[in-house]
């Protein structure tokens, strides 16, 4: 516990059990480290994840051996995919029981080998401070990620003579000046450049530098799902999310660009579409901190490895003001031609709710989402004027993530408005944390978009499986009764004209509040790049008059 406190940990999320008991006993003597008792270990990991995303610090979660540890696995895998700094501490059976199938024994080191940056089984108490120091260091260095430390019960019980290790400062990776010069020449020569900003920009704290570079060189900035907020949504150069379900303009812009700057992105398949058809007219420069990302999916024409803060600073030193009015006008024309459609018809659909929520929040709140249609519409429609205010499960697509991640964010930033936007599928996976929210009087607001379907899966069955609906119809509990049972605030909305009052009821309530929006069951998400297709084959919203003519 002292090691955790020395590393600046003030908040941990966890659940006790047999093998981890000595650590929980020690917590009583360390009130400076707040422990949030969750109702399922998976949510401890998701809360630590949400905490890490908004603070940039290492999120800490704790579980006991066996089932406690295996329940963390989804949350750890989620953090690994999105490069989130996390320390998972698990209890293990006493050393003499290891390998003997002792009660609640699981080889969690073996289980988490492929989903951690590194993991440890602590062999003796004297190694513990050094291992914890290295664990924090590894979690937060380079491309960040989760680290698991498995501690046998008898090691936890032993009194350590070893001094707790103090955290050491991390040197940022310096980019190669020659690579910077090459990149700079390519930017100078480009007529139609587009930057794609990813979560790497946020991790590096380089949002402001990106904005300066974009402004000085007149480069429009698209973003990946997790790069939202890297440049403020209200900024005229911000194009929003691109890719499979991104906005049309940034996706088209990348397809027509002569230079693509991938900044802190990993060119994942949801962003690029079929890579053979990605940015066909463009040279590509990849800026990233992780050498393993270079050429993994898309072969760049140039790459700059290193800390993005230093990279963008170096580029700014070379950058001369430049205007590209024709390219800007072309992109603005696409934005006008292919907006996100908010239906005019009566009846309540997700887009009505998210449109109004965006108007109310005005880019100032922290928003966490679950996974599915609502997530993509939220990414298309919500504005974020500040970095680290958008939390979403990108790489792993973890249903059930949204609500606990929002809670982790709210614990970290109690003075910022925090919303969880969830569907009825994902919410039912982790809604037991309503109890955790309630007993901590956590002022988190839930926007539940209840369509009674696994909406995204239903849409795919409709479009790609001849509408053979298989196991996508979801029953739901009476959420009003559920909210009453958990003693959290509740409002239900079934009509467009109730949206604003429902949102305001939540905002004026102190403590957790569940807004249930009973939306129409069938609503399809566009634009859409069909799986396996090129981004140029983007299918526009059929409601747009130009959609067919595209």
């Amino acid at each position: 516990m002292q090691s955790l406190a020395d590393h600046g940990v003030d908040l941990v999320f966890g659940y006790p059990g047999g093998a981890i008991l000595p650590l929980y006993d020690e917590m009583v003597r360390h009130p400076n480290v707040r422990h949030v008792l969750v109702r399922h270990e998976q949510c401890a990991a998701h809360m630590a994840d949400g905490y890490a995303r908004v603070t940039g610090k290492v999120g800490v979660c704790i579980a006991t051996s066996g089932p406690g540890a295996t329940n963390l696995v989804t949350g750890i895998a989620n953090a690994a995919m999105d490069g989130i700094p996390m320390l998972a501490i698990t209890g293990q059976v006493a050393r003499k029981g290891i390998g003997k199938d002792a009660f609640q024994e699981t080889d969690i080191q073996g289980v988490t080998l492929p989903i951690t940056k590194h993991n440890y089984l602590v062999p003796s108490v004297d190694c513990l401070p050094e291992i914890l120091e290295e664990a924090f260091d590894v979690a937060g260095r380079g491309r960040k990620g989760p680290v698991l430390v498995d501690i046998p019960k008898d090691v936890l019980q032993a009194a350590s003579q070893a001094k707790t290790a103090k955290p050491k400062p991390q040197d940022a990776q310096k980019p190669d000046p020659e690579q910077i010069r090459i990149a700079w020449r390519m930017i100078q020569n480009a007529k139609r450049p587009v930057a794609i900003a990813g979560a790497g920009v946020l991790h590096a704290g380089a949002s402001n530098l990106l904005k300066q570079l974009a402004e000085r060189c007149d480069i429009p900035v698209a973003s990946s799902l997790l790069g939202l907020g890297a440049i403020g949504s209200s900024h005229p150069l911000c194009l929003g999310m691109m890719g499979m379900h991104g906005r049309a303009a940034p996706t088209l812009a990348v397809q027509k660009a002569d230079l693509v700057l991938g900044i802190g992105i990993r060119f994942d398949d949801r962003l690029t579409g079929e890579t053979a058809g990605f940015a066909p007219k463009a040279q590509i420069i990849h800026f990233d901190i992780d050498p393993c990302e270079v050429g993994k999916t898309v072969s760049p024409d140039a790459f700059v490895l290193g800390d993005l803060g230093q990279t963008l600073t170096a580029l700014l030193e070379l950058a001369q003001p430049r205007q590209r009015p024709e390219w800007r006008q072309q992109i603005e024309a696409w934005q006008a031609e292919f907006p996100v459609v908010v239906p005019k018809e009566s009846g309540l659909v997700m887009r009505h709710v998210l449109h109004r929520l965006d108007q109310k929040l005005n880019g100032q709140a922290i928003v966490a989402t679950d996974v599915g249609q609502h997530q993509m519409w939220a990414a298309q429609m919500l504005r974020f004027d500040h970095p680290r205010s958008w939390i979403s499960s990108g790489g792993l697509g973890t249903m059930g993530f949204g609500f606990p991640a929002a809670m982790g964010a709210k614990f970290a930033q109690p003075h910022t408005e925090v919303w969880a936007i969830v569907g009825d599928g994902g919410f039912q996976m982790t809604l037991q944390e309503l109890q955790t929210a309630q007993e901590n009087s956590l002022d988190v607001k839930i926007c539940l978009l209840n369509n009674g379907y696994l909406g995204m899966v239903r849409q795919w069955q409709e479009l790609f499986y001849e509408n053979r609906l298989s196991h996508v119809l979801l029953g739901n509990p009476d959420y009003q009764k559920l909210a009453e049972a958990y003693a959290v605030g509740f409002a239900r909305c079934t009509e467009q004209d109730q949206i604003d009052e429902t949102i305001e009821a939540a905002r004026s309530h102190k403590g957790p509040f569940l807004c249930e929006f009973q939306v129409q069951m069938e609503e399809n998400l566009f634009p859409m790049v069909p799986p396996g297709s090129h981004n140029s084959d983007l299918v526009m919203d059929p409601a747009l008059p130009q959609a067919v003519a595209k």
């Binding site: 080191q109 080998l113 940056k117 992780d290 050498p291 270079v294 072969s299």
Partner: protein
């Protein structure tokens, strides 16, 4: 073009180091043809020789992923012409009585170590570059090849390396 690459590596001897390494090959779909690990000149470390079947891009991905493992100190792609390469094989033969003497002579010619006999069985230890080893095994196999065990390649860079 997929071809065989020799990768040499220096790793720390930690619990699960080999497990991490082979797990990386499995989950990222890299093809590991052989792996050899053992103590080396550096206490607490092992030197590895891996034979990896990959095209150049995949090999480069593979090396960068290996470098990312915390227990890996250094990895290097060795060119066959600038590497000392060798492999050991033990070959067990069961020739017909008529061919027995001829088999012993052939085994002795191929083997730098004394050939042992156990009744009708002849056991030869071969040490050579993999291509020559293949040829020796092929020529001995006409004397009733029973079993072969091979260590896989071990290799060292010809030039001075760091690590």
């Amino acid at each position: 073009m997929i071809r065989s690459h020799i990768v040499t590596g220096l790793v720390k001897n930690e619990t699960g180091t080999l497990n991490r390494l082979t797990s990386l090959f499995r989950r990222r779909g890299f093809s590991l043809a052989s792996l050899n690990a053992g103590d080396c000149e550096k206490p607490g470390h092992s030197r590895l020789t891996l034979v990896v079947n990959a095209d150049d891009d995949t090999l480069s991905q593979c090396l960068r992923q290996l470098e990312k493992l915390l227990d890996v100190v250094q990895v290097q792609d060795l060119q066959p012409e600038s590497a000392f390469r060798t492999e050991l094989a033990i070959v067990k033969l069961s020739p017909s009585p008529e061919e027995s003497q001829q088999a012993v002579l052939a085994a002795q010619a191929a083997s730098p170590r004394p050939v042992q006999t156990f009744g009708a069985l002849i056991v030869a230890t071969l040490v050579d570059q993999p291509e020559s080893l293949e040829r020796s095994i092929a020529s001995l196999s006409e004397f009733g090849l029973v079993e072969v065990v091979r260590t896989g390649l071990v290799a060292l860079a010809a030039e001075q390396t760091v690590g």
